[in-house]
């Protein structure tokens, strides 16, 4: 079946511009996560959506970052007024369960963002 998809795969933008990154989770998965990975580093948690609950935004690094999940499916991560330090690979993952019963996460291929 189809896995998690992300678009675009690569994005080059000028400093100060806004960008939108899209994630299509696996159909039926209630939990959706966004992570950021800088070069040679581990994954940094950004935001978590679970069903219709309020999202956990505790990982968003600044108020320039926001995300929404429409209809419990597709999610968009928006970065306003991009800075060079925002350059990273942005990874989306979904899971069939959330909360304390959460298990493995299925990752998309990521969007490589370069801010020039």
């Amino acid at each position: 079946g189809a896995g998690v998809s992300q678009s675009p795969s690569n994005k080059v933008t000028e400093k100060g511009k806004d960008v939108e990154l899209r994630c299509d989770p696996i159909s039926g998965h209630t939990a959706l996560y966004w992570y950021r990975q800088s070069l040679g580093q581990g994954l940094e948690f950004l935001i978590y959506f679970q069903g219709n609950s309020a999202p956990d935004k505790s990982g968003l690094p600044s108020d320039r970052f926001s995300a929404e999940r429409t209809g419990g499916s597709v999610s968009t991560l928006t970065i306003q007024r991009t800075q060079q330090e925002d350059s990273a690979v942005y990874l989306c993952a979904s899971s069939s369960r959330g909360g304390g019963r959460a298990g493995e996460q299925y990752f998309g291929p990521g969007t490589r963002l370069t801010v020039t």
Partner: protein
């Protein structure tokens, strides 16, 4: 930061040898997971061990968990060149209605043919 640590940061072995990677974490967990990443893109889930389990096997993979030491290890037996990748541990913990995976910085494994 609640980020865990992997050890070693890089490991180079000959094909056929075993590879052992270690991971430490900082908070109490629901489970601990290991993931593999090729070429800096999407991660692939390898194995999950729950907090009440001590050891788990899957094919050539063996994972141990010691909650008293807040540590885990991943053993890959009879390594192959195709095992070359970065390996990440992720500690799963829930609270306040949320669930997070906290990833370590990874171990870069190179298996030499």
């Amino acid at each position: 930061s609640q980020q865990g640590e992997e050890d070693p940061q890089a490991l180079s072995i000959q094909e056929g040898e075993n590879a052992t990677m270690n991971c430490s974490y900082k908070t109490s967990i629901n489970n601990l997971q290991w993931y593999r990443q090729n070429s800096g893109r999407g991660l692939v889930h390898l194995i999950l061990i729950r907090s009440n389990e001590r050891e788990k096997h899957s094919g050539r993979l063996r994972v141990t968990l010691d909650t008293s030491k807040k540590s885990s290890s991943l053993l890959i037996t009879a390594s192959r060149a195709a095992d070359t990748a970065s390996y990440f541990c992720a500690s799963g913990h829930s609270g306040a209605g949320s669930y997070q995976l906290t990833f370590g910085k990874g171990t870069k494994l190179s298996v030499i043919p």
